[in-house]
């Protein structure tokens, strides 16, 4: 009867902390997927899996997810304790938040950068502008990699660090300050509902048709 997520067992290949409480976990896989898709992840086969965007490239043998450890979470405090060789249960990639090869804008907050990292690594980033918002400089995950792949097309907005190397302010403010955002391109948004809704309102107020705004919210 049920079409709850069917999970398959894999072995953790690597797990590393890249910032305070933020981790990248990888495992070898045999899935086909498109940049922007997600997987359901759990430690037990029949539990209540959580959904994560894939951060690795479409053709890479190792699949990566990026996660933020929630102290009172039901999964991430345990995920962060895994070591290479441990089992994790993962669904096939799914979802239709797919990033096209056409030029466009990608806008993310925090770990919402993951699908856009997959996009960049999959060769779809050359004609995109990527705008990433975070509280502190250390939270611009995959920054070196993205600078290498998308030089000149990366905007980082740091909202809380006084001596930031990047734009000082929220990404919403950066967007408000832009006067030449093209209305014919697609805008891909990934982050909390609050971020997505605020950014979407700003874009619509600037004349971007809502049909050109494609959103994915964490839940």
């Amino acid at each position: 009867m049920s079409t709850k997520h069917q999970l398959y067992k894999f072995k953790v290949e690597t797990i590393r902390s890249i910032s305070h409480g933020v981790y990248i976990l990888s495992f070898k896989h045999n899935f086909q997927f498109s940049a922007g898709q997600i997987i359901a992840v759990d430690l037990i086969p029949d539990g209540k899996p959580r959904l994560y965007s894939i951060a690795s490239a479409e053709k890479e043998a190792l699949m990566e997810i990026l996660f933020d450890e929630k102290k009172d979470g039901k999964l991430t405090p345990f995920l962060s304790k895994l070591v290479p060789g441990d089992d994790i249960n993962v669904s096939e990639p799914f979802g239709t938040f797919k990033i096209s090869a056409e030029s466009g804008y990608c806008i993310a907050a925090g770990t919402g950068i993951a699908p856009f990292v997959s996009m960049a690594r999959s060769g779809l980033g050359n004609n995109k502008v990527l705008i990433h918002g975070a509280k502190m400089d250390e939270s611009f995950y995959f920054s070196d990699l993205l600078e290498e792949i998308m030089p000149g097309n990366l905007v980082r907005c740091c909202s809380q660090q006084e001596d930031t190397k990047y734009y000082k302010g929220r990404l919403t403010q950066w967007l408000i300050n832009q006067n030449d955002l093209p209305s014919t391109q697609h805008y891909y948004l990934c982050g909390s509902a609050e971020m997505v809704v605020q950014v979407r309102d700003i874009l619509i107020n600037k004349g971007i048709p809502f049909q050109n705004i494609i959103s994915e919210t964490y839940f």
Binding site: C157, E194, S215, T217, F219
Partner: protein, 348 residues
């Protein structure tokens, strides 16, 4: 000092754990359930069939705490919107909608919402937290019109299937013989279509299900409802078609009508195709405009025309009466106004 635990919102099984943990007999849980929800007392002293020793033990570590609404707006049509403060200092809403012999309460399940639908005011708050079963039930039991209620709909702030445990726990209390003793046929739970939780709901509850459809086309639905990218409506419908829900249980599809977006003959044809084989009702809803929305509601004549086109194809279609327009009864309006007065901390 240790905080006393609130017993309000606990099911009989959870109450049993409580009473056993303090050395009381298991049957005390059934007595407690009846006092809390059927007789609706809010102090242990009034529980006269409990021994004095039992009452003293309960008093020591537990409380029964309900929260009165902090604000009410009253519409000229009798609709009332109640604002309730939550345990974490935020606000939620419940809308009381009297209509002849019916009186429906629309309850919230979350503070804010994670779904970010383009047409929804609650989404503008972002997500602030889940409600407990007690906080969901509090909207019902603290309602001044409690005794008039005939129906409860889980269609207020938040996505019920994103807080499925608390939703099921509250329904268990509402339908328990020693709780409110309601039939599940008087309860409808709405969902945007989170498939795994929807399956859990169908397995564990007998209440009606309402699915927020709003567009039959995958790509167009994604433009107004981000959840579509995770759980496409075609897959939600495919799941529903697997269930034999019998005669007692109703599936309905909510369809807010947006001018030139989802109200054309093309949408009629696709709705007919999509819902083919499901015994259901489509509920057409007039759009309550919200600030900064690019969407415009279909006018009443357009809604009636859409209804007639669907009916001509054999579907059961109703038009939901717009209620409480003068007090902005669409969910999230009142609480968002309260919330936006406070500076929110964000990660961007």
């Amino acid at each position: 000092m240790q905080t006393k635990r609130n017993l309000f919102g606990l099911t009989v099984l959870q109450l049993k754990e409580v009473v056993l943990s303090i050395g009381l007999p298991a049957y005390t849980a059934i007595q407690l359930e009846e006092w809390l929800y059927k007789k609706r007392v809010s102090d242990f002293v009034s529980m006269t069939n409990l021994s004095k020793q039992a009452r003293e033990k309960l008093e020591m570590d537990y409380i029964i705490q309900l929260t009165e609404p902090s604000k009410v707006q009253v519409s000229i049509d009798g609709t009332k919107k109640y604002l309730y403060p939550t345990q974490i200092g935020k606000f939620i809403e419940a809308a009381y909608i009297p209509d002849k012999e019916r009186a429906t309460l629309c309850v919230s399940t979350q503070i804010g919402c994670k779904m970010g639908c383009l047409f929804c005011m609650t989404g503008k708050q972002g997500f602030q937290g889940n409600l407990t079963a007690g906080e969901i039930l509090n909207q019902i039991q603290s309602l001044p019109e409690f005794d008039k209620l005939t129906n409860i709909v889980y269609m207020g702030m938040g996505e019920p299937m994103d807080n499925i445990e608390a939703v099921l726990q509250s329904i268990e209390i509402i339908t328990s013989d020693k709780g409110y003793g309601w039939s599940p046929k008087r309860i409808t739970v709405s969902t945007i279509g989170i498939i795994p939780a929807m399956i859990t709901f169908l397995e564990k509850s007998q209440a009606h299900l309402a699915i927020s459809l709003h567009s039959p086309f995958d790509e167009e639905r994604q433009e107004i409802m981000p959840i579509q990218s995770v759980y496409p409506i075609s897959e939600v419908i495919a799941e529903i078609k697997k269930w034999d829900l019998g005669r007692q249980r109703r599936i309905s599809f909510e369809y807010i009508m947006f001018k030139d977006v989802n109200d054309t003959p093309r949408h009629v044809n696709e709705l007919v195709r999509l819902l083919n084989g499901i015994k259901c009702r489509i509920n057409l809803i007039r759009f309550h405009p919200i600030p900064d929305t690019p969407l415009e509601g279909t006018n009443y004549d357009g809604i009636v025309d859409f209804q007639q086109r669907l009916r001509a194809k054999g579907l059961t279609v109703t038009i939901r009466a717009s209620r409480g327009e003068d007090i902005f009864a669409a969910c999230g309006m009142l609480s968002t106004k309260e919330l936006l007065n406070k500076q929110q901390e964000t990660d961007f």
